[in-house]
């Protein structure tokens, strides 16, 4: 925790706001060309800083939102990935189950979270492909509001029927469905 605190403090002192103030003060005195140089310098400084911060990432626990109940495939996927990332990146990855509305509540929260790498989400075909067709008032755009990290796995589905409701094959199933 102490390490993360230090970094944030560092960011406030050296980061954007301080640099912008410096640039404003200096323009009043120096010529336009000097200002340009200074601005470019500030931009370079900022990107070096962001790279340095990323080298340290993660410096505190990361939350993975699972937008479904514990025990389901999204939850199990999140837990396997969380354990592995924790082992590889040396920080805790905490699973937070945010259930409801077909996963769209959790996905909305993730879309609006601070984009600093400390809130992630296990999304799936429902939250990130089917939702726009099913929820006209969806508060996020699955294709535009996220930075994809990577596909984890695919879980093929099986059609199951109650024991006494099944034709011997799909044609029998179709006839039963049609009554």
């Amino acid at each position: 925790m102490g390490k993360g605190h230090q970094i944030r403090k560092h960011q406030t002192t050296v980061g954007g706001r301080h640099l912008v103030q410096t640039a404003e003060a200096v323009t009043m005195v120096f010529a336009r060309r000097d200002f340009l140089h200074l601005t470019l310098g500030a931009v370079a400084c900022a990107s070096v800083l962001s790279a340095a911060l990323a080298l340290n990432y993660p410096t505190r626990p990361v939350t993975i939102i699972v937008p479904f109940a514990a025990g389901g495939p999204a939850d199990i996927t999140g837990r396997i990935v969380g354990e592995q990332l924790a082992k590889r990146l040396g920080q805790q990855f905490i699973i937070e189950n945010v259930n409801g509305a077909g996963g769209t509540i959790g996905a909305t929260r993730a879309a609006r979270a601070t984009p600093d790498g400390y809130t992630l989400i296990i999304g799936h075909m429902g939250t990130h492909a089917a939702a726009p067709a099913l929820y006209p008032d969806l508060a996020y755009d699955p294709a535009e509001d996220f930075a994809p990290i990577g596909l984890v796995a695919e879980f093929p589905e099986v059609l199951v029927t109650r024991k006494d409701f099944s034709g011997p094959d799909a044609e029998g199933f179709r006839r039963l469905c049609e009554g």
Partner: protein, 170 residues
């Protein structure tokens, strides 16, 4: 037809099935896969589509009947269950993707760190064994990382949107 909530993978999967067969059954919502399976076992609903992992125990106990796998090939954990394509329903092909995302605007350098660690995860024998036990297929090498996932999200939205909109019309 039982489902685990509008937008769940069971809902989307069974709507693809209904569209393939050309039926419009009563859709019965449950709060998750477990209560839907309980209702199926109790005979309160007729059928349900679910990732294989959710049904393995009940299939092997004989509490539900497995009719078809919604994939191109038979599944090693359910080798005696035919594929939907074998049953003449190739359109009922659904293996929902599960993927890791960050909010938009997350620094590229952080995305890179996470993508590299996720890539190592998928090569890890412990993790891949666990996914195999769950009946899941981990992302093949060529489909890993941000760009393939971005393309997958867009192509799945394009594939599912017309089917779901048509199926939802009464």
């Amino acid at each position: 037809m039982a489902h685990a909530g509008v937008g769940s993978v069971s809902y989307v999967g069974c709507l693809l099935l209904n569209t393939a067969i050309g039926i419009k059954p009563t859709l019965v919502p449950f709060t998750g896969s477990a209560p839907a399976t309980n209702a199926l076992m109790a005979g309160q609903v007729d059928y349900f589509c679910d990732p294989i992992i959710g049904q393995l125990a009940q299939i092997s106990a004989g509490n539900v009947h497995a009719l078809a796998i919604a994939a191109a090939a038979r599944h090693p954990l359910l080798a005696d269950v035919p594929t939907a394509a074998e049953e003449g329903l190739p359109q009922f092909n659904i293996a929902p993707f599960f993927a890791l995302f960050a909010p938009k605007g997350t620094p590229q350098s952080v995305v890179d760190v996470l993508a590299a660690a996720l890539n190592q995860t998928l090569d890890d024998p412990v993790a891949s064994k666990r996914f195999a036990e769950l009946g899941a297929a981990i992302a093949e090498k060529g489909r890993r990382g941000p760009a393939p996932l971005n393309a997958l999200v867009k192509s799945e939205i394009a594939r599912l949107t017309p089917i779901l909109k048509a199926a939802a019309q009464k």
